[in-house]
């Protein structure tokens, strides 16, 4: 076999990149070929030399300066291009299903149905929306109560991160419901508008902004969000 094939393999052999079969082929060739054996020895010496001359330690970087540079650039990115409202794939799928369902109900209500059938469908649709709205309020309640609580302690960054995630997940649901009920139930739509604003405040808060939770509490209390939610939930 030609030596040129083994020249490449000698390097891969030293890096441990050859298969067992290739290893034994090369070793058998090396036993017979003094030129390739010499080449192997020379390559080994070069590798040793590279190792001896290797810079032993990577210097310490100025990490503070480095992060500052990154932070300056990423903070210039306009807020709207940031995806504040990240939705996991499952959320998008369920939101799409809900949307299609509602669209179906409304198309049926306006274009297909008539007479008694239309009346029954309209009633069923209204009941379904009411039920979904109540469930949405149930999901909103814990996080809003927590922020509205008078004895609100300083929150840890982990707890803030979890709140942000919860708020982000609730925003899409809130937007969908708001759109659906905007014509039929303006009172509930206005409440969802207020909730939307509060959820966005929670989702976009930063842990170093210590005054933000108090502002969120003020927004919840000032708009009587929890009280209105309770009333609508009972109707």
């Amino acid at each position: 076999m030609k030596c040129s094939k083994f020249n490449e393999q000698i390097i891969l052999y030293l890096y441990g990149e050859l298969s067992e079969k290739e290893n034994s082929e090369l070793e058998s060739h090396l036993r017979k070929c003094s030129k390739c054996s010499k080449d192997l020895e020379y390559t080994k010496k070069i590798f040793r030399l590279l190792k001896d001359a290797e810079i032993e330690e990577t210097p310490e970087a100025n990490w503070e300066k480095c992060w500052k540079g990154i932070n300056v650039c990423i903070s210039k990115i306009p807020t709207r291009s940031k995806n504040y409202f990240f939705f996991p794939r499952w959320a998008l799928v369920s939101a799409t299903v809900i949307l299609v369902l509602f669209l179906g109900i409304f198309i049926g209500r306006f274009w297909i149905s008539s007479g008694h059938e239309s009346f029954h469908q309209e009633t069923a649709s209204r009941e379904f929306i009411q039920q979904t709205l109540k469930e949405h309020f149930e999901e909103l309640k814990p996080i809003l109560v927590e922020y509205s609580n008078d004895s609100l302690q300083e929150k840890s960054s982990t707890s803030i991160m979890m709140d942000k995630k919860t708020a982000q997940n609730l925003i899409i649901q809130n937007i969908l419901l708001k759109r659906i009920i905007s014509e039929t139930d303006p009172t509930a739509a206005q409440l969802l508008e207020d909730v939307d604003m509060v959820l966005r405040e929670i989702a976009n808060q930063k842990s170093e902004d210590k005054e933000r939770p108090a502002l969120i509490k003020e927004a919840i209390d000032k708009r009587d969000i929890l009280f209105k939610m309770e009333i609508l939930r009972k109707i």
Partner: protein, 192 residues
Amino acid sequence: MDERSIIQSAQAGNDEAFRQLFEENKNGIFSLAFRYTKNAEDAEDIVQETFIKAYNSLQKFHTQDQTRFSSWLYRISINSSIDHLRKHKKMKEKHSISQDVQNIASNNENLNPVYINRLIEVREKIDLILNQLSFKQRMIFTLRHYQHFSTQEIAEYMNCSQGSVKKQLFRAVSAIKKDFKSFFSEKNYEMQ
């Protein structure tokens, strides 16, 4: 919090989560960039470029995929390193070779001055040879020889075939072998 949750949080716009990803991956990226450029300032610039690019493309990273976040970052940093070196064709200010050697000498008092001088010359020669390689060859050699990645991993990072990586690696090492042969005959060195 596991890495996946941190990434999802960063994708949702949480800059603190992104900072956490920076803290966890900065050393690996810096080490590669430093080995590649041999210059700490250039390496810091590459770390910055890598994380800014990563931030801009964060939505393209899918946590459901099998790709590890560090591998994804490596891919970005390899491209950033090659681009960086291409832009600054001649390295601005080389990492102080003699300072490195002095550090070695102070850690090993038994080393004789002749050996230290030889080390300085060898280091300078290595830098010279690496500068003559193509940007891609130099990167492949750095990843394989200094960062100890397999040719398969390098092929994935550099988006090329394993065969092509092996070819480039062979060319890089052959160039080093050839240049050292003439260097040793010029300097009349005995290879140990």
